[in-house]
Symmetry: C2
Subunit: 247 residues, 2 copies
DNA sequence: GGCCATTTGTCCGTATGTATA
DNA sequence: TTATACATACGGACAAATGGC
């Protein structure tokens, strides 16, 4: 039976070392998902079933699943089962956050580079964004700005509204990758930025900047739109420079 | 002796569920790296040492290390030891490649979105790139184009030179994050693109496109530079559309 | 509520492979 | 070659979480 062609012994042919067990199990599980054409959320065999099917011990299978879980290729629910993951950017976020934490002890280099990328994503797609801009989107963006202003007056943070705003802005592109990258970079920013001191003054500036972005987009003025994005990120840059000068 | 208290019962104190062992070990190892201000390449304690220090079993520590290894936060060298990882984009690449493989059975949506992002990164930074463009960079880029042309005449692929070209192009930005993202997206592209058929004709077009990019940059003509980038990615888009129409 | 089967989480002991000295 | 230190892999046992009866 079986033709589990398996792999192992024969592919180290020449000189190089044989691939480690855990690595081959990872590939086998990925191949299983592809072969069965599974989609995110679909159930995978249980650990013991995978052990039989792949001819590996439970430890090896578990460690392989751990790796795939970190990449969000699989998702594990304790006491329930293992499923195909959502293939999100969670790994990117976790990695970048750790990088930022590691570098923040000296400087905020990662945060500065992050702002550059975030700004580029929104400025670079200015054309397509304005082309697809309509009243519905404008209303949705206005609602988020309103929410931000309301919370600022209450002295509360407005993380949710800010995240929603930036996601709405690039949504008309209908590019999942860009949307997910935008969300991922925002998430990293949200974790890292609080390491800088922030003021109420700064919060009001930021809210106004968001309003300015909507206005420029509504007017279909691409140059103004790009400038508004620039203005939006400027305060963060200033705080960053200020912080760097102090150290 | 003992006080291995073992765990379990007491730490689910209040209402929400206690974090799982593996998860806390992951955080502990990350905290260890931050606390000791370790840099990529620095050695970590051995598995058994970590077991003692963290009060967890080998399995838990190993599985935690597996997760951190997938994120390139730690790097394991068999029979040698565990070290702080290079914090690369390896996880992003692996995740995106799998996404593309999963979607390629139906369409090449991920590849299309990928091209959009790659193009944006280079077009969006046109200003700073041209501002920092000098003879040295031009010579380096010309060398890569020359290498590509030579290989094409020999009927060989020119992956290395192509990768080097695009990395050189955004190098003057001195933004590590952008450079690594560019490299990561290129890597994904290189794995996914071969699923499309490619011709010698296409290869020559691509080489010429690279030469056009250099010329535009050397002339300091930003508009031409942006058009050249557009031209460079156009053939891939066409192939993509062609492939989609056939299915 | 309790009980039970299933599944993942954790631990231990041991043996093997790998790299350095 | 031998010895040592280390990561890799295995198998079994028990704990914890989930869902259904």
């Amino acid at each position: 039976m079986t033709e589990t062609v398996s792999t192992s012994t024969q592919n180290l042919s020449a000189s190089s070392r044989a691939p480690l067990r855990g690595q081959t199990v990872i590939e086998q599980i990925k191949a299983y998902i592809l072969r069965h054409r599974l989609a995110p959320g679909d159930p995978l065999p249980t650990e013991s079933a995978l052990c039989e099917e792949l001819g590996a011990s439970r430890s090896s299978v578990r460690e392989a699943i751990k790796t795939l879980s970190a990449l969000d290729i699989v998702e594990v629910r304790h006491g329930h089962g293992t499923y195909v993951g959502r293939l999100s950017m969670a790994a990117l976020v976790e990695g970048l956050v750790f990088r930022a934490q590691l570098s923040s002890q000296d400087d905020f280099a990662v945060l500065g580079e992050l702002i550059g990328v975030r700004q580029l994503l929104e400025q670079g797609f200015a054309g397509p964004i304005l082309a697809a801009f309509d009243d519905e989107l404008r209303a949705a963006l206005d609602a988020q700005v309103e929410e931000m202003r309301r919370r600022t007056d209450l002295g509360e943070p407005f993380v949710e509204a800010d995240r929603a705003f930036h996601l709405l802005l690039i949504q008309p592109l209908r590019n999942d990758l860009v949307s997910q990258l935008t969300a991922a970079f925002w998430d990293v920013h949200a974790v890292v930025a609080p390491m800088l001191s922030t003021s109420l003054e700064h919060a009001r500036e930021t809210v106004d900047a968001h309003a300015g972005i909507v206005t420029a987009a509504a007017n279909g003025d691409e140059a103004a739109f790009v400038r508004a994005i620039e203005t939006h990120y400027a305060p963060v840059r200033e705080q960053l420079d200020y912080h760097l000068r102090q150290s």
